[in-house]
Subunit: 272 residues, 2 copies
DNA sequence: CGCTGTGAAAGACTTCACAGCA
DNA sequence: TGCTGTGAAGTCTTTCACAGCG
């Protein structure tokens, strides 16, 4: 990922590992909850449990930020909230535009997690003229024609794309041309951007597919018995599925027959 | 991350690395697009570009599935689509319930990426009696009281939670009690589940915070002008230079004064 | 004594680079 | 010849385990 000079960190310990950065928001959320309950201090053990990680990892993560704890005691909640916020850049105001106000865009506009963390929805943009003016989450939707103006006038450097896949790249290009340097992409497509622009993506169906992968393995566990098979309904749980689902209708392997996969690749028709 | 099984020292090469599993949906999407354009074969280089990864990684990933390519030629698109689908468990039907039909829940219900990949939205569930019966994405919303019945009657093993954070754990407990063993959580809270249940989470604001972190670093460091040199790379980011924003108002450090962080920790009022 | 901070070891993932097959 | 498949090397991440300080 980090396509960067991986040599000699210019200054001392200034490189916080990506894996750590990705967890800071998690810690911050847990700490904010503690803060709201006026809890003054937490131990790495408690905070780790609240954030869903293990304590050694948490301490190691914090060690990259500095020594913010007190031995024998733990961490001061307020102080840590501030330090992490600052490290993440959340102590400053980040105007954000959301492009594509469909169901998802509306959900994002309404999402409280943004405002409470330094993000300000500067504008909602949609290509549908019929939506122009309609307020969503209290913010009027503006037409896509004004995208460049909006971005420039508000000094927006972070853009959120929640358009259909087909429009995403074009929207991305316009955002970048207008000055946006960080993009959060919800459209199921790979965006290409110039060097220096950051893209992160969230694909709702990818997570589900990963779950399916693991779910599939669960039923196999023990004997490896061929399962019931009834996929539709009926039996509640314990829906055992064959370990390596027997390929009933698999495409024929193109040519020859080399080593191929660990399990068979049956002949027959296409599944789709 | 996956909360489930920890071991998988399986007999043979049956252990596909998590990192690889997480990329399979990406490859699948790219392959599906090629398939729709009737492209018969792809090289690892082309497919990698389409998926936004590098070719060596892609080849290594595929090597865990088996030898599905042809040297000197590439991969047969249809064949690979099938193999990956099967590996992910997408050749079977996965009934899914979505609990919490707010903006996000509605967006998920309407999301085409589910249906096209073996996921079938078996039911939409919401606690608001006023919503009962209202169709969302063509599916009538059912009341939360019937959650257990719905899950059992439909043999649902995957549940999606898009309720407010406060309701998430309770919904989760009920889903699990009813037989769900995989949960996709969109609520910004850490769920606790019994062993054997898998939870994956998607926090919309976390990605934005990670972007903010990198964005913050860009402005500092001018020696390496954030060049806009057209690049085909999907994700571009680097810059690992001292940033250290000026702490204007930081909470006072609790007690004593040890080594503390890499930069100062100003006194003064609380930021929040 | 309790809990943080951190070297060092282990493990996971990525990249290299090239043998080997179609 | 062209491209896959894969050991081996390199890099990043996690975990261990304990020194050290409050």
């Amino acid at each position: 990922m980090a396509t960067g000079r991986t040599h000699r960190p210019a200054t001392r310990s200034r490189g916080i590992p990506e894996a750590t950065v990705a967890r800071l928001p998690l810690y911050l959320r847990a700490l904010t909850a503690l803060s709201e309950r006026s809890v003054p201090t937490v131990s790495s053990e408690e905070l780790a449990a609240a954030a869903g990680v293990n304590s050694a990892k948490l301490r190691k993560d914090f060690s990259y930020l500095g020594s913010y704890g007190t031995r024998g005691v733990g961490y001061d909640v307020e102080y840590l909230v501030y330090q992490i916020s600052r490290e993440l850049g959340l102590t400053q105001d980040w105007p954000v535009v959301i492009v594509g106000i469909g169901n998802l865009g509306a959900a994002l506009a309404n999402y409280g997690g943004f405002a409470s963390r330094g993000f300000r929805v500067a504008a909602l943009i949609d290509a549908d003229p019929a939506m122009a003016g309609t307020p969503v989450a209290g913010i009027p939707v503006q037409h896509a024609d004004d995208l460049e103006t909006i971005v420039r006038d508000n000094g927006v450097s972070i853009g959120v794309i929640s358009t259909p896949a087909g429009a995403a790249q074009q929207v991305c290009d316009r955002l970048v041309a207008a000055g946006v340097t960080s993009i959060l992409n919800f459209a199921p497509t790979v965006l290409s951007v110039p060097d220096g622009v950051d893209v992160r993506k969230v694909d709702l169906s990818i997570e589900l597919q990963i779950l399916a992968f693991h779910e599939q393995r669960k039923s196999v566990e023990d004997t490896g018995e061929a399962g019931v098979g009834q996929s539709t309904a009926g039996v509640a749980q314990d829906v055992s599925v064959p370990a390596v689902p027997d390929a009933e209708e698999a495409p024929v392997r193109p040519v020859a027959e080399g080593r191929k996969g660990p399990d068979g690749d049956m002949p027959a028709v296409m599944p789709a």
